[in-house]
């Protein structure tokens, strides 16, 4: 059984990052087409990620792709282009029941076109809005494809005008709510990433806190964070 302790998020338009990522042995490798890619590079990042998945030595990790939301106008094309190279899952930003329902239809169609069995590609909704947080249980039940969810505190902070801190007191409620909802649904829960990639001690504390709140794993923005995450989440 694959472990689900860590997800390393790598911008999808940087060949160097795509090539270096597997050496950190993250449980999930998130190739990012959304936040990590500027608007004008969305098309070329999509192609780069598609080609990288077929080419790179990603055997020791579960490759997932964070696509753009459908409302951004890029999401549908992301699904269409990436589905044939069969990532383990798509990560869906601004997860909402409505969007996930639409994606379910698009993805089923794309799988058919690519000759894949229906449901072979999973979905990992990102909870980064207040609405999604309060819809957690229905959100997680939208599709049988959903086995994990990802709590992104930065999105929430933006929406609410929260100023983030390393200690994370300001997101205590959201974290707790998210982690518990995932537990109830029997799903993997990934905590928001720790932003200071040079502060290993802070990261370790943050991992410990998340684990105690009920999270089963954590996102990382730098390969150097993976070992610490694996130390805490076992």
């Amino acid at each position: 059984m694959s472990k689900n302790r860590s997800m390393l998020i790598i911008p999808g338009n940087s060949p160097k990052g795509l090539q270096n990522a597997p050496v950190f042995y993250p449980d999930l490798l998130v190739l990012d087409l959304a936040d990590g890619v500027p608007f004008e590079d969305k098309d070329s990042a999509r192609l780069l990620v598609k080609e990288a998945i077929g080419f790179m030595d990603y055997e020791n990790t579960q490759v997932v792709v964070r696509i753009n939301s459908l409302q951004s106008g890029f999401g549908a094309k992301d699904i269409e282009v990436i589905t044939p190279v069969q990532p383990v899952a798509f990560v869906i930003p601004q997860g909402s029941v409505e969007q996930l329902q639409d994606i379910e239809i698009l993805l089923t169609e794309s799988e058919k076109k690519a000759g894949l069995k229906e449901g072979s590609i999973g979905l990992i909704p990102v909870v980064d809005t207040v609405k999604a947080l309060e819809q957690m249980s229905s959100l997680l039940n939208t599709s049988p494809r959903i086995k994990s969810a990802f709590f992104n505190a930065e999105g929430l902070a933006q929406e609410l005008g929260i100023i983030r801190s390393k200690e994370g007191d300001e997101i205590l409620y959201a974290r707790s709510k998210f982690a518990m909802a995932c537990r109830v649904a029997g799903m993997n829960s990934f905590d928001t990433s720790f932003i200071d990639s040079n502060d290993y001690e802070g990261l370790e504390k943050d991992c410990f806190k998340a684990r105690n709140l009920g999270f089963t794993g954590k996102a990382a923005i730098d390969g150097r964070q993976i070992d610490t995450i694996h130390k805490i989440f076992v």
């Binding site: 090539q19 270096n20 050496v23 950190f24 790179m56 030595d57 730098d222 390969g223 150097r224 070992d227």
Partner: protein
């Protein structure tokens, strides 16, 4: 003929002579005779101080065909090689062999002297990628260059294989009677270790200084009894090119990953222990290994006996933090290292011969437990190339590579598996610098390979969760990413002879097509 690492070498190389083929790292020990030294004794009242380099050239009787030597402690800030060679060239002298311990970009003027036949031979143990290295690769030098190691050069000098007519020793500080040190003066460089054999064995020894101080120039490193003449020039070097800025541990996540794996190998094989000795290079990944080793040493509360080699501020910090009892320093890389060597008796300098000469009564490398090395290429027999790029152009020389690999108990090569598009692990390296029998472990970001000859290490590592794989697997991963490189085509012209530390020929560099 083929030598014992399977390289095809001519039996006789024009401009070099009869070839003694490499026959194994330990094939060449035993009874040795040092060469005799010719000198002119100095009587009371004799004056050693000379006004100009030109005048020195008269005094030493410079003439066609001579060998002149230099050290590279001033690195890319050195003015002395260029100053002396300019003066020699002006006299219309030809056919000079430059025996320099190191050549850098700043020595570009040598290219013109190579073209005009002033310089027809070069012997060097460190060469930075750049104009002179490229000129050698193009075959512009009349005789093949001889690439040695830091220990091989003093061996060659002491045995008489490399005879030096005049040694020009850049001296950051000197007195009128030839005592020198490298720790004072505006061109301070720390130790003068690489010049010690030159001073002891050359027919004529000249101190070239820009900081003439009242007698005696303490703390003396090279003493007056070896020195014929002292000449003062305006400047021997540019301090900015001599010492590096702050050399720091890499922040590159992949470099750190490699460093961490390397330290875990050291720990798992039992070398993090009381009295351990350790050497690493000054590169970012090498220093990162030091940082990880430091962490293990602190955790286990062990104190090492010594760290050696070119010394950086980072190693000085480890000394001062009590992680090592002493340092052996052959080259100071930064101001912190210079100050420490000057002020701290635990920070010991060592000559090139003491550092790595295989034919003295035991070099410091023999006492090394763990050595961290780099590689431009490494083959599936663990042979390492640091001499030529994958296109066959010269980009370096052994330096201490094959000395420390041979001496240390655990020689670890740390490198990225691929550098950009270039695979580092290959079926065959372009040039062999260090024989695979002296390399124990290869650590890359995509896996670790242990030399099958080291069954003891394999046994110790097999129950760890370290990613240990056969080296062929690493080669295949590299080639899957980069593609299989097309072989580079070479002409038959030998442009450089790669001598192993014992003076046998381990490879020949041919001119690329």
């Amino acid at each position: 003929m083929k030598n014992s690492v399977g390289r095809e070498i001519p039996e006789y190389i024009e401009g070099y002579g009869q070839v003694k083929p490499f026959g194994g790292a330990l094939a060449n020990y035993g009874e040795r005779t040092k060469t005799s030294v010719k000198l002119r004794s100095v009587k009371p009242g004799d004056n050693k101080l000379v006004e100009t380099i030109d005048e020195v050239l008269d005094k030493v009787g410079i003439r066609d065909g001579m060998t002149v030597s230099f050290h590279h402690h001033l690195r890319n800030g050195d003015y002395v090689i260029n100053l002396v060679m300019e003066a020699i060239a002006k006299r219309g002298i030809k056919d000079i062999t430059v025996a320099a311990t190191g050549i850098f970009k700043i020595h570009e003027p040598l290219v013109d002297y190579i073209k005009s036949g002033v310089i027809t031979g070069i012997s060097v143990n460190y060469i930075a990628p750049g104009p002179v290295a490229t000129a050698i690769s193009k075959g512009l030098l009349k005789k093949p260059a001889v690439l040695m190691s830091h220990g091989g050069r003093p061996r060659a000098i002491e045995s008489g294989d490399l005879h030096i007519d005049v040694a020009f020793i850049a001296a950051p500080t000197a007195d009128f009677y030839g005592n020198m040190n490298g720790v004072h003066g505006k061109a301070a460089c720390g130790t003068l270790a690489y010049a010690v054999s030159d001073a002891q064995y050359a027919d004529h020894v000249v101190a070239v200084t820009d900081n003439l101080v009242p007698y005696p120039a303490c703390p003396i490193e090279i003493s007056q009894d070896y020195v014929d003449y002292v000449v003062k020039v305006e400047s021997i070097g540019d301090p900015n090119g001599i010492v590096s800025g702050t050399l720091t541990v890499t922040k590159d996540p992949v470099g750190l990953r490699i460093a961490k794996l390397a330290a875990q190998v050291i720990e798992a094989t039992g070398y993090i222990k009381e009295g351990m000795s350790f050497q690493t290079g000054a590169g970012g990944t090498s220093l990162a290994v030091a940082a990880e080793v430091r962490r293990f040493m602190k955790e286990k509360n062990v104190v090492g006996s010594f760290a050696a080699g070119g010394i950086t501020g980072y190693m000085v910090d480890m000394l001062n933090d009590g992680l090592f009892r002493s340092l052996f320093d052959v080259q100071c890389f930064d101001l912190k290292a210079i100050a420490s060597m000057r002020d701290n008796p635990k920070h010991q300098k060592m000559s090139g011969s003491l550092y790595g000469n295989p034919h003295n009564r035991g070099a410091v490398v023999n006492n090394l437990d763990v050595m961290i090395l780099g590689a431009t290429e490494i083959d599936t027999d663990f042979n390492v190339n640091v001499v030529t790029g994958s296109d066959g152009i010269i980009i370096g020389a052994s330096g201490g590579h094959n000395d420390t690999a041979a001496g240390s108990k655990l020689a670890i090569v740390v490198t990225n598996l691929t550098k950009g598009r270039l695979p580092v692990v290959k079926d065959q390296v372009t040039t062999v610098t260090t024989p695979g029998e002296t390399i124990d472990v290869l650590v890359t970001e995509r896996g670790i390979a242990v030399n099958p000859a080291r069954q003891d290490l394999i046994d110790k590592l097999k129950d760890t969760d370290l990613p240990i794989v056969p080296i062929e697997v690493l080669k295949n991963i590299a080639e899957r990413l980069t593609g299989k490189p097309e072989p580079i085509k070479f002409t038959d012209q030998v442009v450089a002879v790669v001598e192993y530390r014992d003076g046998t020929v381990i490879d020949a560099v041919r001119k690329p097509l």
